[in-house]
Each structure stands twice: as structure tokens, then as C-alpha cells.
């Protein structure tokens, strides 16, 4: 399983764009990059998944460079409700999601 490295914590002000980068140097050819969000006292929630280049959905964008050794989750115009822990996972047909310690994002009013 590919090991991922994320910052332990980040702070940002409301209304700003937040970018959380994840390193996964030993990602395999067929691995996908997946991000989950977790609020206190709740289970994780799927945000976005990508393989290469850029993926965008209604809540976030995921940028993946050509070498795929890192990826960046981008949250546009964050609000206080985006305060949560964000997990980057690298998964290939593997139901056993391996979470790291994640990035604790705090939005400041």
C-alpha cells in the first residue's frame, strides 16, 4: 500500500481557497487518489477521487501532476463548516482503505 504524507494541520480564513497537498512517492501505476473529510463524532465522507490531471466536482478540485507522486485537494472559498480532518488515500481495487493521521483544517472567521 502506498504511504501518504500530509501536513498535520492547517489554518485558513473564511472565503479563501485552501490547498492541501499529499505526497505519495511510491504510488503504483493503477492506484487512484481519494480524499475523505471527517467531522467530529461522524464517520468519514467521500469528497473526490482522481487518477491524473484534474478532477472537479461540486465541492472540491483535485490536481494531480504528471508524475503522480503528489496531489492537491483544493477547497474554494472555505467557510467555518469546512473545519474538519481531511484524509488522502491511495487505493487500487483495495477495499481496505488505509487512512493516515490526516490534515486538521481549521477555518478562522
Amino acid at each position: 500500500l502506498a504511504k501518504t504524507t500530509q501536513p498535520i494541520s492547517m489554518d485558513s480564513y473564511e472565503g479563501q481557497e485552501v490547498n492541501i497537498t499529499c505526497s505519495h512517492n511510491n504510488i503504483a501505476t493503477n492506484d487512484y487518489i481519494t480524499w475523505y473529510q471527517q467531522f467530529p463524532s461522524q464517520g468519514p465522507r467521500f469528497i473526490i477521487q482522481g487518477y491524473k490531471t484534474k478532477v472537479t466536482n461540486e465541492v472540491a478540485s483535485l490536481f494531480i501532476p504528471a508524475d503522480r507522486k503528489s496531489s492537491t485537494l483544493s477547497l474554494p472559498r472555505v467557510s467555518l463548516s469546512d473545519t474538519a480532518v481531511y484524509y488522502c488515500l491511495v487505493v487500487f481495487g483495495n477495499e481496505k482503505l488505509t487512512f493516515g493521521t490526516g490534515t486538521r483544517l481549521t477555518i478562522i472567521p
Binding site: 463524532s41 464517520g43 467521500f46 488515500l89 481496505k96 482503505l97 488505509t98 490526516g102
Partner: protein, 114 residues
């Protein structure tokens, strides 16, 4: 009733007691997963079912942990002779089909062993 539900939400057990944690997955979801989450850590995989078949139990920490899903829907995680190190949040997740990365998680059961 759209989401994954778990019961009880909180459980306090004395060391040595047996506990049973229940998970009701989203209707029609084939795959069901159990995770253990210690305070300040990410969830760790325990076991996986496809319908009623337990296909992977490699994450169960000891033979005191047992999970079942007899009819391919509701699942129960049982912990026998609980120990203090079993204190954690136990999360259940389901997904529509096998090998999908979009798992839907329940709120978890917080187990405290005293």
C-alpha cells in the same frame, strides 16, 4: 432513512464484558466494512463483507473480535472479554459494489472499557 446507521452510539463496558455493535448499511449495498478509530488517529480497517461472505478479516486485532452478516444486510461486530485497549470508535461503512472507493460511513459507536 438514507444513511448507514449504527447502534448503540455509545457503549460503556467493564473490562471482561462482551459487547455487540450493530450496523445497518444502506439498502442494496453489497459491501460492508468495519473500522476501528482511536482518538486522534485515522480509521483502521478491521474486516470486510461482500453480501454475507466475510472476505477479509485480516484487520481484526485478536480472536476476541468477531463479525457477522448472516443475511447480507445488517452486521454485528462482537468483542468478547473486552480490554481497555479496545476503547475506540467503531465505524461501519457500506458501498454499492465491490472495489469502489466511495464508502458511506455511519456515525460510529464509541466504546469505552473501564
Amino acid at each position: 432513512g438514507a444513511g448507514v446507521s449504527q447502534s448503540p452510539r455509545y457503549k460503556v463496558a467493564k473490562r471482561g464484558q462482551d459487547v455487540a455493535l450493530r450496523c445497518d448499511p444502506i439498502s442494496g449495498h453489497v459491501s460492508l466494512f468495519w473500522y476501528q478509530q482511536a482518538l486522534g488517529q485515522g480509521p483502521e480497517f478491521l474486516t470486510y463483507f461482500q453480501n454475507e461472505a466475510q472476505l477479509d478479516k485480516s484487520g481484526l486485532p485478536s480472536d476476541r473480535f468477531f463479525a457477522e452478516r448472516p443475511e447480507g444486510s445488517v452486521s454485528t461486530l462482537k468483542i468478547q472479554r473486552t480490554q481497555q485497549e479496545d476503547s475506540a470508535v467503531y465505524l461501519c461503512a457500506s458501498s454499492l459494489e465491490r472495489a469502489t472507493y466511495e464508502q458511506y460511513f455511519g456515525p460510529g459507536t464509541r466504546l469505552t472499557v473501564t
